[in-house]
Amino acid sequence: MALDTELVTVTPMRAAIARRMQASKQEVPHFYVSADLRMDAAAEQVETLNRGGGRARVSLTALLVRACALALREHPQLNAVWTDDGLALAEQVNVSVAVAVDGGLVAPAVLDADRLDVRATAEALSDLAARARSGKLRSTEITDGTFTVSSSWDTQSPVARLTDLLHSTWWPVLTVSPFLAAVNGYYDDASLTSPTVGNAVFDTRDGRLLFVITTSGYIGPHDDLTSTFEPAAYGLRIDLTSAAILGYALISGPTFALGSLHLALASAVPSGTYAGVLELRDAAGQYTQAAVLMQTVADTTPPVASAGADFTVDEDATMAFNATGSTDNVEIVNYTWTFVDGGPRSLFGPDPSYVFATPGTYVVTLTVRDAAGNAATDTVAVTVRDVTNPTLTLSSLAEGLIYSGSLVITANATDNVGVVRVKLFVDSVSIQDDFAAPYEFVLAAGSLSVGNHTIQVIAYDAAGNSASQIRHVTVVAGSGGGILPNVVVFGGLILLVLAGVAGLALVLLRRKRPRPPAMVPSPPPSTEVAQGTTAPLEEPPTEPAAPEPTPPTEPDPDFDLPLQ
């Protein structure tokens, strides 16, 4: 498949440049030597020469041309061209200089450059540039260069560094790029008495992070009179937190007296290494840059933990915790909640939910950490309410029991937290408390009158939750011995059965229509028993027992609660 292309006609100059660049690579032996030079002294000399003004301004290029010319005179082997016949040494030192012209580039030579002082060189360069643009170059200036200096800041090609440029007679080429002195950034935590001249400083004093250039005349490409270069330089404003370019700030020109370029940033900058870039850019699009590395000090400010206010919650209810009141100068990256009810357990995140299964009071610990590892803790006390009633059974007391003599009541009371009291009521009157298992009450013989009675047992836990059991019993006159009537020995089975049936019927009737104990007459079964016996077992029931108090028929649940 053929590649679709569109052929664009270029100007003869561009075509010539392309041909010569190609020939340069193909036909000229290449090697590269590169070195970075400190140009402070040169820049100072340029400034000194230009002080006072008046005559043609001396440029750094003029200085370079002069330096090359002197070097070539000392090293004639370099002032030469390789030919098929050998190395042809030139007698004249003619230093060509790349000059931007409309639509391209030419490199006319400063003839006999080694015989010109710096100022004369500058004037020659100025003259060459003017004539190059007006088409008035001499043919020998085109053909007789022996060495070429190309400075990328006076070209119109947007390249940072020219590597090689072929002059028409392929003389050696010296390329020069705009220079920017190395900018060594460092972090100033106010421990420095004054920033070092020539360095970029990140200054975090006063809670600000500033990118400060503290020198003047140290940084900057210098103008070249022979070009259209307009002296201007810009600092690049960089938001170090987001790496976003905020914009350019004009620094100054043409000597680039740099004041302070303050870069206001968010006050909270996470610890870490940041790169700032200072970039100098001229009107022709040439630029150079220096990176500045900054290591911020570690974040040593701990966060502030807030686990929220203490609270009370029912057992088995879901509780949402909230640590969003916690703060840090940078950011909290970890929330850990430690619970100690049951086995130790941790939950994570600012707002976890948790269910407390066991009543009690617990301290929950919140630990917050920032990215630098600084931690803080806070605690919240959680009171878990007991809302579970105890359980209660009366193992020794059957409903409807008929007995004579003494009665032992055994209660089995349990609670998820603990039973603190078991109370016995007889006919709604509090009789006895038992504070510890086994819970047992003894109603001695004769303590209850013959007749029907209501026995209630209530178990309480510490939270006031309770459980109740009620039994109805009938006290009959007896030998004072066991619960079963001894009359069996003496009476007929039938009578006993009759008596039992009759007694049960009575009990059932009474259960349906409870009456005050005082109104209970002598129970018929006793009579029947007595009738069916040959001899009275004991003294016959006489008067009913002394009238008992007459509390409400049903005990008030709040009556005599143990702990309130």
Partner: protein, 74 residues
């Protein structure tokens, strides 16, 4: 026509700076030449009198071709 560039093939005579009969010193500009890169003032490489112009202004002249004759002094 002088070679004013590494791969220059032709040069266009824009104008003659000297007329036939003029005395020419070495280094004097004798013509303005347009190459594919720029306009150049062509210098004389010798001294003498311009006796003949073989290519007129406006002509495209291959490199190495004669554009005129100088008669050396003496």
């Amino acid at each position: 026509m002088a070679n004013l560039g590494y791969d220059m093939e032709t040069g266009k005579i824009v104008s003659w700076s000297k007329q036939v009969g003029d005395t020419v010193e070495r280094g004097d500009v004798i013509a303005e030449v347009e190459t594919d890169k720029t306009n150049v003032e062509m210098e004389s490489l010798a001294s003498g009198t311009l006796v003949e112009v073989t290519r007129a202004a406006g002509d495209e002249v291959p490199v190495g071709e004669v554009i005129g004759y100088l008669e050396a002094d003496g």
